[in-house]
């Protein structure tokens, strides 16, 4: 008899799943060995999520077989999958914000005394798990008060409490800061060292290269590559994902800065303290920083969505410190907000309507009315120019994929040809192919003589695009670097609070 250790942790054979109009999984084979971190990669729509939901009992496959720990499995629900030792951390966490960490961990598997939840035992259990796996988190904290990185730990603790031997993590680092992501991988490695198995569903190349043992790449529902991480490269994986050679992390040539377009001096608002900066025509200024250090607040204040308490803001020599968002836009400002679903677009409105927003008060308006023909023509023109894939201009924006929605939002704002563009997280959650397209658009916009202020959590994006890099820490701009000084180490240190004003001057003297 074969000892169970010899069996793969998960073995999928010939998994096929058809949805109306698409073949989501086409005879997919996937073998995950016990004790490894196995990355499942692919662009949006490649079939990763479908495959995992089949494995986890959320969807039924049309054909194919699933074996977990060597045993034939046919899960009808996530409950069945959990009973077989699987556990999944979903991309959007499935937690109860108002409950404590301990309550979240033991929910539906509670230690009891006389039918009541044994809180002391629950707390003890969490402490044991925390100690065993190095997942430091306070069992009594309210989950809603925890930062994202710790919430993710609660999700992992939940699975460990249920005895999960194989953990599936869906895009686990999408919401984490670089430091939190590093901490996560430390935890995952210690879990695999104990013989547990991790399946990592992601489209981020770097963490796959740093953190995984093997990689399976899906494209259009098929497995297109099985790679050993130590023997592959980012370029090879990216080429497998997109089906063509992709130039990654390209550092674009610097622009030629002209006159000052945006001048900010001593601006303060909620979360921002005395920020001063300038952005010139033909220049991209990047703001780096760990999420929550005042970047969003600064941009919102500049866009006119948040009152400025002190300081002065000028746009093309006009004082706009207290101007409304509309006045700012009319004076020459365009804005790509961070949250493209809730702020940047109206999901229920059509693609054409979304593209018309903002343009309704300028080019598209005719005596206070919006002639539908003009709106349609505008939509046709922009979808073509920016390569937005929509089946028709009348479909709701919510029908677009994340990458296409982002192209719509960026295209709409670029079409204003405003002297100043504020852009936040332009490529968050967007496919590699679309990232390249968006970057090229931003560079072209700069080269046409416009000023761009860019906020991004991706250091590679900031380094690739920005002519100058500012670092925000605890609401202040604490460092400023030219393009050639801004290497990853320097920026990383400054983002962690390692740069004071003195450090900036030292940097300048050097």
């Amino acid at each position: 008899m074969t000892p169970p250790q010899a069996d793969p942790a998960v073995e999928l054979r010939g998994i096929t799943k058809r949805f109306p109009g698409t073949l989501a999984n086409d005879a997919v084979d996937l073998t995950v060995r016990r004790g490894e971190i196995h990355a499942l990669m692919g662009e949006n729509g490649a079939g990763k999520s479908t495959l995992m939901s089949i494995l986890y009992g959320m969807t039924r496959a049309d054909a194919g077989s699933v074996r977990v720990d060597g045993r034939e499995a046919d899960f009808a629900s996530p409950g069945d999958a959990m009973a077989a030792g699987l556990g999944m951390v979903h991309q959007s966490f499935k937690l109860f914000d108002s409950l404590s960490v301990a309550e979240n961990v033991v929910y539906a598997a509670e230690p009891r005394r006389f039918g009541l939840v044994d809180r002391a035992a629950a707390r003890r259990r969490v402490r044991e798990l925390v100690e065993e796996h190095g997942l430091a988190v306070d069992p009594d904290a309210r989950v809603g008060d925890l930062p994202v990185g710790l919430r993710q730990r609660v999700e992992i603790l939940k699975l460990l409490h249920r005895g999960a031997r194989t953990l599936i993590l869906d895009e686990p680092t999408a919401v984490l800061t670089p430091a939190e992501a590093d901490a996560l991988f430390t935890v995952l490695k210690s879990l695999t060292a104990q013989g547990r198995t991790v399946i990592l569903v992601t489209h981020k190349l770097r963490e796959v290269l740093e953190g995984s043992d093997r990689v399976t790449v899906l494209r259009d529902g098929r497995v297109v590559a099985r790679l050993v991480t130590a023997e592959t490269s980012a370029d090879e994986i990216a080429a497998a994902m997109t089906g063509r050679a992709v130039e990654l992390d390209r550092i674009h040539a610097p622009g030629t800065p002209g006159d000052v377009v945006l001048g900010v001096s001593g601006l303060a608002t909620d979360g921002v303290r005395e920020a001063s900066l300038t952005v010139r025509a033909g220049e991209i200024v990047g703001i780096a920083g760990v999420a929550g250090n005042g970047q969003s607040e600064l941009i919102e204040a500049l866009a006119g969505l948040r009152p400025t308490s002190t300081g002065q803001v000028t746009l093309l020599d006009a004082d706009i410190t207290h101007a409304s968002a509309t006045e700012r836009r009319l004076k020459g400002l365009a804005y790509v907000p961070e949250d493209r679903h809730a702020v940047g677009t109206a999901p229920a409105a059509s693609v054409a309507e979304n593209l018309a927003m903002g343009h309704h008060r300028t080019s598209l308006s005719s005596r206070g009315l919006l002639p539908p023909a003009g709106v349609r023509a505008h939509a046709r023109q922009l979808t073509e120019r920016f390569g937005i894939k929509a089946s028709a201009p009348e479909v709701p924006a919510s029908a677009l994929s994340g990458g296409n929605l982002q192209k719509l939002l960026i295209g709409r704002e670029l079409a204003h040809e405003a002297p100043l563009l504020l852009v936040e997280q332009p490529t968050r959650g967007v496919d590699i192919g679309a990232i390249q397209n968006i970057h090229d658009q931003l560079i072209a916009y700069r080269d046409a003589g416009h000023a761009v202020l860019l906020v991004s959590a991706e250091l590679s994006e900031i380094r690739g695009l920005a002519d100058r890099v500012l670092v925000m820490y605890e609401g202040r701009i604490t460092a400023s670097y030219d393009k050639d000084e801004a290497d990853e180490r320097t920026l990383g240190l400054a983002m962690a609070g390692g740069a004071s004003r003195e450090a900036v001057t030292v940097e300048a003297v050097d």
Partner: protein, 290 residues
């Protein structure tokens, strides 16, 4: 003296139906079902209690039948919101309107009278220490609900379902089951509330006799933040307001003014809770549209 033991007893009598209904509402709220059908469920309870007590001669059978009838009536909300995913507000309002029409119609067909059915031989609930047994039951229910919700496995799961049904479902807890249970339980409690109103506070049935108490219970749920003890305090406030209304009437104020007392308190309470809630919301974007 304005505040005396009579006023207190009168307040406790007025409190009971509101408290029972509000506990039901609070349990629904915790399970994530916004129940504004309390008024209608209670009214169904009133009629069933009176009719059953009249035909069987037993007020206790009346209470039992009322609890069952109101629970059956609450199924409209459970099926409508949980299974058919309808809008809880629309359904709740419809249930309240339907209950007024249905009980008035039944009053005419069963008893052949309009407006009020009242008979000296209609058996009401006995009094213990000046209060009906249901009053004591309602206080006990506060304690039981508090322990069940905060400490019991069932309560933890219910709260989880109310807060994040997806998360509960991924852990194998069926949100639908818990929501059905919460709504049915609120039906039972509203049936008891209706019995108290029709066989305890008075012994008669009159059209639309709940007169907004179910709505007041909805406000008590909000004001008490769906916590059993909070709901008790809120219901006590309304009970006192109603009792004070009677008292003021005795002092010569016009009835139309004194009857308004609980509703004025309700409005004030609603204003306070929404004002508090508004402060917690982030200032919204300005000037984004023009």
């Amino acid at each position: 003296m304005f505040f005396d033991s009579d006023l207190l007893m009168s307040a406790l009598r007025a409190l009971t139906p509101i408290l029972l209904a509000a506990l039901g509402g609070a349990i629904c709220e915790r399970a994530g079902v916004f129940n504004i059908g309390l008024e209608g469920m209670m009214l169904m309870g009133c009629f069933t209690a009176v009719a059953t007590s009249w035909f069987t001669g037993s007020p206790w059978l009346g209470v039992l039948a009322a609890a069952l009838a109101a629970a059956a009536y609450s199924l409209i909300l459970a099926v409508g919101t949980v299974t058919l995913r309808g809008d809880a507000v629309v359904l709740g309002v419809a249930m309240n309107l339907l209950a007024v029409g249905l009980t008035s119609f039944l009053l005419r067909t069963v008893f052949g009278v309009q407006g009020t059915f009242d008979d000296p031989s209609l058996a009401g609930l006995p009094l213990i220490g000046g209060l009906s047994p249901l009053a004591y039951l309602s206080w006990a229910a506060v304690g039981v609900a508090a322990v069940m919700l905060s400490r019991h496995v069932w309560g933890l799961r219910l709260r989880g379902v109310g807060e994040a049904p997806d998360a509960a479902a991924t852990l194998g807890v069926s949100p639908a089951k818990y929501k059905y249970a919460a709504v049915l339980l609120s039906g039972v409690l509203c049936g008891l509330a209706g019995s108290q109103l029709a066989l305890g506070n008075v012994t008669l049935f009159t059209e639309n006799m709940t007169a907004g108490r179910g709505w007041i219970a909805v406000v008590a749920v909000m004001l008490g933040r769906a916590l059993p003890l909070g709901v008790l305090l809120a219901a006590l406030l309304f009970g006192l307001a109603e009792a004070a209304g009677f008292r003021l009437q005795g002092l010569g104020l016009p009835q139309q003014a004194t009857d308004a007392a609980p509703y004025v308190v309700t409005l004030g309470a609603l204003f306070l809770t929404t004002a508090r809630r508004r402060r917690r919301v982030r200032p919204s974007s300005t000037g984004a549209a023009s």
